[in-house]
Symmetry: D3
Subunit: 156 residues, 6 copies
């Protein structure tokens, strides 16, 4: 059976930490679908179009990786795509507790979908999308944290 995973997130932006999650789980799955969640009630900092273009630039040559966006529950997306796994990165304790609640609540709803966790390597473990946004807003340079960062366009 083909093992398919959804890697969901707002990816606002997709950092070198997220890249490391993909790199570390490549051998684990036959296909990984990177799925940008769109929340109609909360505007992202970078436009959806630029986040898609940015992700496509990183994985343009790779058959194993597909990029989508969605605005439903993640477990519904997983079912629609035939994915049996959700893939999530863990960075720190705050992440861990939130992800545990989500994973256990998803498990109550859909026990057939399993969440698999990857801990990012130490060199990128500190990278946090919200701090990256703060640095960008205040005119700082973010290329230590984001590859191809020039493709990202702020919403306004």
């Amino acid at each position: 059976m083909k093992r398919v995973a959804i890697f969901p997130g707002s990816f606002d932006p997709f950092t070198k930490g997220h890249e490391n999650v993909i790199e570390k789980s490549r051998h684990l799955f036959d296909e990984i679908i990177i799925a940008i969640g769109v929340n109609s009630r909360k505007q992202a900092f970078f436009t959806l179009d630029s986040r898609l273009a940015h992700l496509n630039s990183l994985y343009t040559q790779e058959d194993q990786i597909r990029i989508v966006h969605y605005s439903e529950l993640t477990t519904k997306l997983a079912k629609r795509e035939g994915a049996q796994f959700l893939l999530r990165g863990l960075r720190d304790v705050k992440d861990f507790e939130y992800e545990r609640s989500i994973a256990q609540m998803n498990h109550s709803l859909h026990p057939e979908i399993e969440t698999v966790f990857i801990i990012t390597k130490q060199e990128v473990n500190h990278i946090n999308s919200s701090i990256v946004r703060e640095i960008h807003k205040n005119g700082g340079v973010i290329d230590s944290f984001v590859t191809n960062q020039d493709l990202l366009v702020p919403s306004i």
Copy 2:
């Protein structure tokens, strides 16, 4: 390529929490090797023989699961067995921080072996082997926490 994972631990004893890690990662790996680590400097509470018998009783019919014991570095065992993955369960924050250090240090030594984490379901998330041992030592009943607990024999 066959995906093989080592699930290492002292399993003193192997609880319903550990069973849940296996259950949740069955579809992820083609083979899972449950590996009891033996530490020559520190005696376990339950004998190695009884822990092996206990584990064999739980997975006796399953081709996908193999049970071994070892006393070397876990990454060495992984290489010897041709495993590309280490499998670990996460329960709470204390677990998480310790596992993160181990995983990142293992990654520095052997970047080709990835550690994959599973968060146990809420019904067994609270089970802790050291508290199970305390209950057993004090004459309490542990069958809410351990399947086939009568197979386990204290070292003395």
Copy 3:
């Protein structure tokens, strides 16, 4: 002396986790006042009327439990109601640290009111009101997490 406790919260919504806090502290107090805090600056997801109706449906027959709403400091409500205790549930580390700050700051202001904490049982320990709201917003089913959930009405 009659022991009276306030159980304050936004209860947006009141989950099976909150139900467990009540169940576990029933023998501890002679009266428990479940108090929905109303914040004039921040709209709740479910209407106040429906949250009150929902709570009344759960505890309709019980003399020991009373349901109120309030928009002042919780310690003022406690004094007005003659309650000597505040009752709070603890779920995870994030909860714990926030509750510790609140309890210690309340204690500086009103040392005669004590806060008592209950840790929810494992089966409901993962339930988080904000994730329940997300699931509901996205059309998911929340009856694993909330009893009588059909009584709850979103604010818009």
Copy 4:
């Protein structure tokens, strides 16, 4: 019905933090039994006799408080004493996670016994018995942390 609580611990030594737990829960219970747990496999730093004398000196005049020692499971002691509650103090995250596991495991075994938690006030929140022992071993003065500390006698 009379509300009776066991306050169990090794109390090696009983600090001003523990005193604060008693002070904060006096109005909650009709009787509090402070119970020194004796572990035959692990010697305490201060002798059992001196820990009992120390506790008796602190609560000598109080009908509401009784002091015992025990070497069985805490829930068995509770049943024997007719106590419906276990009382525990919470200080920091490490405490919290350990106490949560214990409380949830005890709840699986004896759902009729509830654990109630108190968070110590900020002035004593940092006091840690094992650090108190280290200070005492190295000739430091511990009277900022322990009342009547001169009654305590090291085991050797």
Copy 5:
């Protein structure tokens, strides 16, 4: 070489916890610049003018301490002011993890600027500016937590 530190924050308001950070680091630095960060996208609860007046009232006589406000990246301010150090207080685990990410990301950008951390003393360790604001909004008295609190004026 003169050791100069920036102590950055929104200080909305500057509490007795922040005062303790200054008190504890006075002997460490030759000059400390308390720097109120102004975020054009997010209004503070207390006006900038009143926060500046409040801070000036606390440190009016002190040559060692200077008060500024800024709206750029903190590391840019540090360079402009010739400061080699950022000074931050740590209170709890949530603080710690956020500060670690910020400090490590700042270090990637400007390795010549070091962040130095102080843990506040236990008597003020629980004071949290956002809970202080909640108490003030609801008509509570905040002078246990903030010196000269009458100088602070809400934005509306």
Copy 6:
């Protein structure tokens, strides 16, 4: 006034994480005394002589750094050496909570001695002396974690 700090620890062994603490605090202090704590009741894994030789090899040319060993309370050492500061590294949440208790208890005893904390950079943040010892015991290579590791000699 000359600013002198004690950097205390068991340093069993002194890792690249500890080196980073020194590197990051060099500009903060005029003198740093690295102090190996010797506990007569608990044998270290590496001999004291080899730990001293190891540390001397790392800082042989540096006037700013001195290496000592001691077996008293750290605050007594500080007074004897005329140091006004204790220097400690912070790595993770577990570290943080323990260090907070120690720092606050030391502050109760000796308010004139301040503890200053440094968070190690991300590349070495995961290095943990006890895991380094485990790797060494099991025949693993530790030179990713410890400089000049060949100078260290196990106690037996």
